[in-house]
Symmetry: C3
Subunit: 154 residues, 3 copies
């Protein structure tokens, strides 16, 4: 067990198997020192996070969904570094989309679920730039989608 | 005629002239080994792909629109490598926005139109990370907008 | 006073102090030659740019909001280069989200407020790739959010 999994376990999180890309794309691409990870949805967690945050899901459930997206991003990154966490330099950037209606204004609060998970898992190396916006709808009705850029030792 | 154009021709596609950026920005920027291509809309194809997918356009038309965006991305990349396809290493990342209403859930299906085109054109080098989300509206009412990051030999 | 601030002053703009990231993320991350700047909202300007462009704000006000986002991006970049503008090579990419309703089609016009500011400030080095899309809502109800990628000399 490596430190990232250990750290996550202390917080009550389990790193899932990296979700497959379902179509004609790949879960991540490594280019130089950067890993571009495809947008992750909140699958593999305690429940099915579908619907609009603020309508079908509470803010807390939205944060849990965002945390699950972050776990899935880390699962992809683990695969990208061949399980060798020492090769992971840092989380560079997260792009967060919240499934919500036109009056929702707590996108940042929802995305904190992902940002906090990343810092819980990686410490200072988990601190990242990000955007947090709404989308009127997301694939399969998921509540949150988050993509990411990470820096690794190639 | 180079292999990418030949491959696309076999599939019935023609690479357009790279669309101009209409305002005070540029169609692409090269930074190191990466080409960042501006968001492309589905112009230059068989028809005008405007409106909301699932309302004004069928899923199939949405996929055609996404494929046209991918063609326009490739046209920009061709320009970025001075027409020398051997310098194109791979498609790294696509960011896809589908113009749709709040109940639409087939963003991934629509974006497959772009992903499939990219793999048709480039083979394994066309496989990319991506996100697929909805936008409530897009510039000039276009049905899809896709931006991209590509790796090249500078 | 360096040239970017001087140039902006001639145009009537003042570079603000770089806005803090409010939560568990950081305003920018440097990775190699690239600076990934977090999504900036239009704070620190002449007024509070909140609401939907085309409904609560005019197109011109939307452009002002986008320009304010661009100023905030530049303020972050200034911090990233330790105030040494000579280290800034260029603006590579802007990602623009406009808070608007489902019938809005002038996302490009709004984002020109950011693109023009960037070129006003940096000249040719300010010309960038970009996407311009709508979001149904944005954090705290802001009218525009823009993130950016810049190239620097590390």
């Amino acid at each position: 067990m490596t430190s990232v999994e250990e750290t996550l376990a202390v917080k009550g999180y389990t790193l899932p198997e990296p979700p497959d890309a379902l179509f004609n794309y790949v879960p991540y691409v490594v280019s130089g020192n950067l890993v571009f990870v495809a947008g992750q949805v909140p699958i593999g967690g305690a429940r099915d996070y579908k619907g609009k945050v603020g309508v079908d899901l509470t803010l807390e459930e939205g944060q849990e969904a965002a945390a699950q997206c972050a776990l899935n991003l880390l699962a992809q990154v683990k695969d990208a570094v061949g399980g060798d966490w020492i090769r992971l330099q840092r989380c560079v950037k997260l792009g967060g989309f919240v499934n919500s209606g036109p009056d929702f204004t707590d996108q940042s609060v929802v995305l904190n679920g992902a940002s906090d998970l990343m810092v819980d898992a990686l410490g200072e190396a988990g601190r990242h730039a990000r955007f947090a916006v709404s989308a009127p709808s997301l694939p399969a009705g998921f509540a949150v989608e988050v993509d990411g850029v990470f820096e690794i030792v190639p």
